[in-house]
C-alpha cells in the first residue's frame, strides 16, 4: 500500500516535470487505476461488495473514462505542449518536493486516528496541493483540466485514507459529477480552441474591471 502511495507521488512529480499534455494524461490514467485499487487494497481483509463497487467504479471513471475523454479532446484540438508555464518545469519539480514535505508535515500534524494511514494522507494532500499548484502555474487550459483531475484524485485519496465511505449512490454521484465536469471542461476547451484559436488561459483576460470602472465615480451621473 505504501508502495502504491510512493508510485502515486512519483507520478505527480512526472506531471510536474512534463511539458506534454499527452504524457500527463497517461500519468493521470495510471493514477486513476492506482486509486481505484486503493480502497480494495486498503480493506483487503474484510472486503465488502460496496468496496468492490467503489473501487471498480473509481478505476473505471478515473483510470479509463476520464483519460479517454481528455485524449479525445487533445486529439480534436491538437494542442501540442505547454511552452512557457508561469513556473518553469525545473522549479516546479523543486517546488513539488517542498509541497511533498509540506503535505507530510500536515499529515503528521493532523494527529490522525489510529486506523488512518499517515502515508496515504500525506500522498492525498500532496495530490491536492500539486493539483492546485499546476492549475495556477500552467497556461494551457488542458493542463488546468488535468490538474483539476489530479486534485480530485487527491481528494478521493484523502477520503480513502481516512477511511471515509459514502453511500454508493453518493459515491457514484460524486464520480459522475466529476466526469460531467471534465466533460464540460473538455467541451469548453474545444470551443476555446475554435473561438479563440488558442487555449492559453493568460490570454483570457477580456473580463476584468480594469476598463469598466471610470476613474471619477459619480461624475458622469
Amino acid at each position: 500500500m505504501n508502495a502504491l502511495a510512493v508510485l502515486l507521488i512519483l507520478s505527480c512529480l512526472l506531471i510536474l516535470g512534463s511539458s506534454r499534455p499527452r504524457v500527463a494524461i497517461q500519468v493521470v490514467a495510471v493514477q486513476g487505476i492506482f486509486l481505484g485499487l486503493l480502497p480494495i487494497l486498503r480493506s483487503w481483509e474484510h472486503l465488502t461488495a460496496g468496496i468492490w463497487i467503489v473501487g471498480i467504479s473509481g478505476l473505471v471513471f478515473k483510470g479509463i473514462l476520464l483519460p479517454w475523454l481528455m485524449q479525445n479532446v487533445l486529439q480534436r484540438t491538437g494542442i501540442q505542449k505547454e511552452t512557457a508555464p508561469y513556473v518553469s518545469f525545473g522549479t516546479s519539480l523543486l517546488l513539488g518536493i517542498v509541497l511533498l514535505a509540506l503535505s507530510a508535515w500536515i499529515a503528521v500534524n493532523l494527529q490522525l486516528p489510529a486506523d488512518a494511514s499517515p502515508v496515504l494522507t500525506a500522498m492525498a494532500m500532496f495530490l491536492v496541493l500539486v493539483g492546485l499548484f499546476l492549475m495556477m502555474s500552467r497556461r494551457k487550459a488542458i493542463m488546468q483540466t488535468l490538474a483539476y483531475l489530479v486534485m480530485e484524485n487527491g481528494v478521493y485519496a484523502l477520503g480513502v485514507s481516512i477511511s471515509l465511505e459514502f453511500p454508493y449512490l453518493v459515491e457514484l454521484g460524486i464520480l459522475l459529477d466529476i466526469f460531467v465536469g471534465v466533460f464540460l471542461m473538455g467541451n469548453l476547451l474545444f470551443h476555446l480552441d475554435r473561438e479563440l484559436q488558442h487555449t492559453d488561459v493568460d490570454k483570457m483576460t477580456e473580463l476584468s474591471d480594469l476598463q469598466t470602472i471610470s476613474s471619477e465615480p459619480g461624475r458622469d451621473a
Partner: protein, 489 residues
C-alpha cells in the same frame, strides 16, 4: 410523503432530459412553463406540509429548506415567464456583437431549456438533501448544469466567463469535499455516516480541531460558489456574461444554495457548541465581501457587473448577519429572501435594457424612463430596493442586522458595515441615475408585459415584505435561527 420531495427533485430532471430531445420550440416552452408551475406548486405544498414531513434518510425538509425551496421555485417560475419571452426574442442565427467585436451564435434552445431544468433539479436537491455528501453532489451539479447556461451566447467573453466559472467553482467544491471528509474524521470513530441527523446526534463528541479544519475548508469551498470575497472572482464575469434570466437565477437562487451548504455546517458547529468559531469567520468574510464589492461598485460603468458586485455585497451582508448570530441570523435569513426578490427582477430588467440598447455600458444609456417606461420604473424601484430604502423589505433586514450588530457591541463591525453600505450606495447611484434619467432622442418603446410583469411581481413581494412580515414566515425563520444556534457571537 417522501414521494413529494422526490417528485420535486426528479420532475424537473426528467423534464430537462426530455427537453433536450424536443425539437418543436412551442411544445418545449410549454413543457418548461408547466414544469415551473408544477414545481412551484409542489414546493409550496411541501413548504406548507413541512412540519409534518418527518426527516428521512437523505432528503427532508426542515425550517431552512422551507425558506429556500419555495423561494427558489418562485424565482424559477418568474424567470420562466420572463425567459420564454427572452428566448423568443433571441435570434437563432449567427450575429455580430459590436461590443466584443466578434461573431456569436446562441446555444440551441433545447440545450438551454434542458440545462435550465436540470439546474432547477440540482438546486432543489441541494436544498432538500439532508446528507452532506448528497448536498455536495447537488451543489456541484448546479455548477455543471449552469455552466452551459452561462455559455448561452457562445461569444468569446461568455466562453471565458464559463471557463472561469467552471474551474473556480470546481476547485472550490473540491475543497468543500475535503471539508466533508474532515467532518467524517471529526466524528467519533465508527459512525461513518454523513447524514445530517446522525451527525447532529453525535455532535457532542466531535473532535473540535478537525471540525474547525472542516469548517474552514467548507467555508472556503462553498464560499467560492457563494461569491464571498476574495473567492468571488468568477461571479462578476459569469453574472455579466450570462443571459439575463440565467443571471437572475444565479444571483437569486444559486448563491443561496451555496449559502445553505455553509449553513449546514454552521448548524453542526452550533450543535457541537462551536458556533462562535464559525461566526467569527463569517463576520470577517462578510465584511470583506462588502468591502471588495464596494471597491468595485464605486465607479463601475458596466451595469450587469454592477449588479453582480451588488450580489457579492449582499452575500457579504447575509454572511455578516449569520456571523453576528441571534437576531442577526434572523435578519440574514430575511435578507436572503429580500435579496433574491430584488436582485432577480433587476437582472431581468437589465436584460430588457440590454436587448433595447445592445450595450452593457451605463455610459451609453440615457433616459430609460422615457425610452422604456416600464423597465425604467422597475429599474429605479429595484435600485431603491437593493440599496435598502424603506419601505422595501431589504431595509428591514439590513436594519435588523445592524441592530443585532449594535446590540452585540461590535462597534468596528458596525462602523465598517455602515461605511461599506455608503460606498456601495454611492457606486450604484451613479449608474442607476445615469441610466434612468437624462435627455435622449430615442423613441419610446412599447414593452411586452411578459418581460416586465415577473420582475414587477417580485419587486412587489419585496415591497410587501417591508411593510408586513407574515407570522408564519417569522416563525419559520425563528425556527431556522434556532437550528443555527442562539448564541450571539
Amino acid at each position: 410523503m417522501i414521494n413529494l420531495l422526490v417528485c420535486i427533485i426528479v420532475l424537473p430532471a426528467l423534464m430537462g432530459i426530455i427537453s433536450y430531445f424536443i425539437q418543436c420550440n412551442g411544445i418545449r416552452r410549454t413543457f418548461w412553463l408547466l414544469t415551473a408551475i408544477l414545481h412551484f406548486l409542489l414546493s409550496l405544498k411541501a413548504a406548507l406540509m413541512a412540519p409534518y414531513l418527518a426527516p428521512t434518510l437523505w432528503i427532508g425538509i426542515d425550517a431552512l429548506s422551507t425558506i429556500f425551496l419555495p423561494l427558489s421555485s418562485l424565482l424559477f417560475l418568474m424567470v420562466t415567464l420572463y425567459g420564454i419571452g427572452y428566448v423568443k426574442r433571441e435570434p437563432v442565427e449567427q450575429q455580430n456583437d459590436q461590443e466584443i467585436g466578434g461573431l456569436y451564435q446562441n446555444t440551441p434552445e433545447s440545450i438551454f431549456t434542458g440545462s435550465l431544468l436540470l439546474f432547477l433539479s440540482a438546486m432543489s436537491l441541494a436544498i432538500l438533501s439532508q446528507h452532506l455528501g448528497l448536498q455536495w453532489m447537488a451543489i456541484e451539479a448546479t455548477t455543471l448544469s449552469s455552466a452551459p447556461l452561462i455559455y448561452y451566447h457562445r461569444s468569446k467573453t461568455s466562453l471565458e466567463a464559463a471557463w472561469k466559472y467552471l474551474i473556480l467553482c470546481s476547485v472550490g467544491i473540491a475543497v468543500a469535499l475535503m471539508g466533508i471528509f474532515f467532518i467524517g474524521l471529526a466524528l467519533p470513530r465508527g459512525i461513518g455516516d454523513l447524514t445530517l441527523s446522525i451527525i447532529l446526534q453525535h455532535s457532542g463528541q466531535v473532535n473540535t480541531k478537525w471540525m474547525e479544519v472542516a469548517f474552514i475548508l467548507m467555508l472556503v469551498g462553498y464560499g467560492t460558489k457563494m461569491g464571498l470575497a476574495p473567492l468571488h472572482n468568477w461571479l462578476p464575469d459569469a453574472h455579466s456574461e450570462a443571459p439575463s434570466p440565467v443571471s437572475a437565477l444565479l444571483s437569486g437562487a444559486l448563491l443561496n444554495c451555496a449559502l445553505l451548504g455553509i449553513l449546514r455546517i454552521q448548524q453542526i458547529n452550533a450543535a457541537a457548541g462551536m458556533a462562535s468559531f464559525g461566526q467569527g469567520l463569517m463576520v470577517i468574510f462578510g465584511l470583506l465581501s462588502m468591502g471588495v464589492a464596494g471597491i468595485f461598485l464605486l465607479g463601475q460603468t458596466d451595469y450587469k457587473r454592477m449588479l453582480a458586485y451588488s450580489s457579492v455585497e449582499h452575500m457579504g451582508i447575509i454572511t455578516l448577519g449569520f456571523g453576528i448570530g441571534g437576531l442577526g441570523a434572523f435578519g440574514a435569513l430575511l435578507h436572503v429572501i429580500n435579496h433574491s426578490l430584488i436582485k432577480s427582477p433587476l437582472f431581468m430588467t437589465a436584460g430588457n435594457i440590454h436587448s433595447r440598447f445592445h450595450t452593457k455600458s451605463a455610459l451609453k444609456i440615457n433616459g430609460l424612463m422615457k425610452v422604456l417606461p416600464a423597465s425604467g420604473i422597475l429599474w429605479l424601484a429595484g435600485f431603491f430596493a437593493i440599496v435598502g430604502t424603506p419601505p422595501f423589505g431589504s431595509f428591514i433586514s439590513e436594519f435588523t442586522i445592524l441592530f443585532a450588530g449594535i446590540s452585540s457591541k461590535l462597534w468596528w463591525v458596525n462602523g465598517l458595515f455602515g461605511f461599506f453600505l455608503i460606498l456601495a450606495f454611492i457606486g450604484m447611484t451613479g449608474v442607476f441615475l445615469k441610466m434612468s434619467f437624462g435627455k435622449t432622442d430615442a423613441p419610446p418603446d412599447k414593452e411586452h408585459s411578459i418581460s416586465v410583469l415577473p420582475a414587477g411581481i417580485l419587486l412587489l413581494l419585496a415591497l410587501v415584505l417591508g411593510i408586513w412580515i407574515p407570522g408564519w414566515l417569522s416563525n419559520i425563520i425563528n425556527l431556522a435561527v434556532q437550528m443555527l444556534g442562539n448564541g450571539a457571537g
